[in-house]
């Protein structure tokens, strides 16, 4: 059944009162890159938003995430099995500082899979620590973030089984009047084995640059993301070294309309192009192009309950692919990476003929989401509504899964 997802930018609905992945997802927004909706998750896109969410503690329920099929240690965070994470922001004089634990990137997991010859071979960026600091100078808000991970496996008896992973990134953001800008830089992430023919993922400098301009209730956004890496894999003949690139361009518009009585209507549309290229012998490429329209609402039902919902639909959406199929030797990307791209970007793994380019419309892209916030003074409990424990939505409001992707936010 077609669903419509409406996402809205919340610029006016007491942005300081709302925070969490569940809220963003219920409003049809991306949890990772939220361009239109003011939420405490915005600090991960534009670190200057720490100034708007000071004196709060946020906890997102979950476990280790969902295990990628065929692996023992590669996990993604999805709505039905989110990863646990939490953090706090605290104001001290003119400054705001904070720490967040466990905000792991699905994109990072996906790209590392490109290098793996064996599923789950590489250590993922785990136990992430984010440190934030920012300040409001009166004329400008700024924020800075540092991200760090470091994992190892060492075996003195079999040093060729050793593995290591480390990752460091920094985010810098500013908000000056109606203008917003951010620069998020990956300073280098690598994960590798110490085998005789090692498998390595070596990320070079990655950039996510962007900005927004607010014109009253309207917001224009634009961003560019680029991540490059070099990989070696024992799945490739002679341990061939291969380069890869991930890029994304977003241009969008959003509108927030205050409907009165504590209700807000959000509308946004964005044009997004995502490209993945891996220089295997049969050069693999994927271009994912979408223009989703999202409409969402958020309304206070009473003093303790806020409802929200959204419908979204691609006005246009297609995937163009070449050589995105698994195979041995050094000809193609691994079957595991091909599967991961299919899950994330709707590529077709049944196209197995080399150098054949396929373009297809993205099917079944109408989606409806709903969520609620239970408010107890300074404590808010957010969650998705209408999802089963597996994350599927079949039009049912059930008490078995009253709220999913639950998070708690406490303002102090």
């Amino acid at each position: 059944m077609k669903k419509i997802i409406i996402a809205a930018s919340l610029l006016g609905l007491s942005g300081g009162a709302y925070a969490t992945s569940a809220r963003l997802e219920a409003l049809g927004s991306s949890v990772t890159d939220n361009y239109f909706i003011n939420d405490n998750r915005s600090i991960f896109l534009n670190a200057a938003y720490v100034n708007d969410y000071a004196d709060s503690m946020n906890m997102e329920w979950g476990t280790a995430g969902t295990l990628v099929a065929g692996t023992a240690n590669t996990r993604l965070t999805v709505s039905a099995a989110p990863k646990a994470q939490a953090g706090f922001l605290r104001k001290s004089g003119k400054y705001v500082y904070g720490v967040n634990l466990g905000n792991e990137s699905n994109t990072g997991v996906l790209l590392r899979m490109a290098a793996e010859g064996t599923a789950g071979e590489l250590l993922q960026a785990d136990n992430v620590v984010d440190v934030f600091i920012g300040s409001d100078t009166g004329s400008m808000k700024w924020g800075w973030n540092l991200l760090y991970t470091n994992s190892k496996l060492e075996n003195s008896g079999t040093p060729t089984n050793d593995k290591e992973e480390k990752n460091m990134a920094t985010r810098l953001g500013m908000i000056m009047g109606d203008t917003e800008a951010f620069a998020n830089v990956s300073l280098g992430g690598e994960s590798k084995t110490k085998a005789t023919n090692p498998t390595e993922f070596d990320g070079s400098l990655g950039l996510h640059l962007g900005g927004a301009y607010n014109m009253g209730a309207n917001k224009l956004v634009a961003s560019y993301k680029s991540l490059k890496w070099d990989q070696k894999s024992n799945a490739f003949t002679s341990n061939l070294a291969v380069a890869g690139k991930y890029s994304e361009i977003v241009v969008g518009y959003g509108n927030t309309k205050d409907l009165g009585n504590g209700a807000t209507l959000f509308t946004n549309a964005r044009y997004q192009i995502t490209k993945v290229d891996v220089a295997t012998t049969n050069a693999a490429s994927m271009t994912h192009t979408v223009l989703p329209l999202a409409v969402g609402f958020e309304a206070k039902a009473n003093d303790w309950l806020t409802w929200r919902g959204s419908v979204s639909h691609n006005l246009t959406g297609s995937v163009k692919q070449k050589n995105i199929m698994g195979g041995g030797g050094s000809q193609n990307v691994t079957a595991q990476f091909a599967g991961a791209l299919a899950a994330a970007f709707n590529t077709d793994t049944t196209v197995v003929t080399a150098d054949v380019e396929k373009t297809a419309t993205i099917a079944n892209n109408t989606a409806v989401a709903a969520g609620a916030s239970l408010m107890f003074g300074k404590l808010t409990v957010d969650g998705m509504v209408g999802s089963t424990v597996t994350g599927t939505k079949v039009g049912v409001l059930t008490l078995s899964n009253l709220l999913t992707r639950v998070a708690m936010t406490y303002w102090f």
Binding site: M57, W61, A84, G102, N127, V406
Partner: protein, 380 residues
Amino acid sequence: MKKQIVIAAGLAVLSTSAFATKARLEALGQDNGGSHYIQDTRSIFRNAAHVNNFKNYVVTEWGTAAATAETLTAPHAEGGFFREMGSFAYGLYMGNEANAQNTMRAGGAGFGGTGAYGAAALVAHDNALDLFFGGDMGVQWGANVHYASNSNEPGGAALKREQSALGLGLGMIMGDLTASVNLGLSDESKEDGATAGTKFDNTGMEVNFGYGLGDLQLFAEYDKDTVKFTNGTGVAEIKTERTELVVGLAKTHEVSSTARITAAVAYSSVNGKDTPATGTATEVKNTNLPVTLTFETEANSWLTLRGSASQSVLINSTETVTATTTKLTNADTTAVNAGATLSFGKLKVDGSIGAGTGAAKAGVLTLNTAMARVGVHYWF
């Protein structure tokens, strides 16, 4: 399951006498045997002197009667009562069993994860009883005696199997200074039947120290447990040992009289060593520097909500030493927990929320299992 780190701090304001139970402590990311910095009735198991601070109540923890290791969704039944008597306080608690050792006693692996340090025929540490007594004479003091005795005489060729345990806890609270020592004097199971001479022998010691500096709390803990096992007369004895060292600091921020948040960091080193009769010993050393954040607030007159998050930062490894050495970073140490207390005047119902029907917490609030590890306490 992700580990949680618990930081203890002196909580003086949020009606601490109203809070009790394992569910509360676990929701706050603490060890349910008592927190170093969050006061709870469970603190009596870490420092018996707290019997002076928590009195005139009855507590029951819902669960099974089984003597095997308990889990969040299959906890053990236990409970007790505590009462004041002038400047003294006393209490009786039933069912506080040595779960980890019972698993080992039944044939489970040692603290290093290897070997079999028990046998199915051995009688478990069961039907335990704890007696508490304490006084406040400027300095608060307390003592706890732990006792368990069980036997099984099947008759015939199979002769007697028996178990006995005795423990002693002593504690004091003098202003900002707290100190306690808990001794497992003996916990012995032996079998004189089909495999005569089978014997499981556990002794242990726990020393705790705490010092308050305003809203900061320094704390330290040292534990040592030793289990010796022989699987019959003339069979070589094997030994497994566990030592733990925790040093930490916690800060409590009283947001209001009905809400508080805490942040804590602790260095934790846990070492388990299995020494077989022959061959190489196995040693597992787990070193962590966990950070724990907690909040607890009265949402309204009948509901208190709490939550915690913890993760190891900077120091996070498990080293296994056998013939070779393996060292790895512990994965997925981020853990978030939540809990609630339903208050009906003097009667309170605690529980963990979001645990679902299984051990996994998938971020779901379900009314199928509204609360897990439920504990009910009544204050009189």
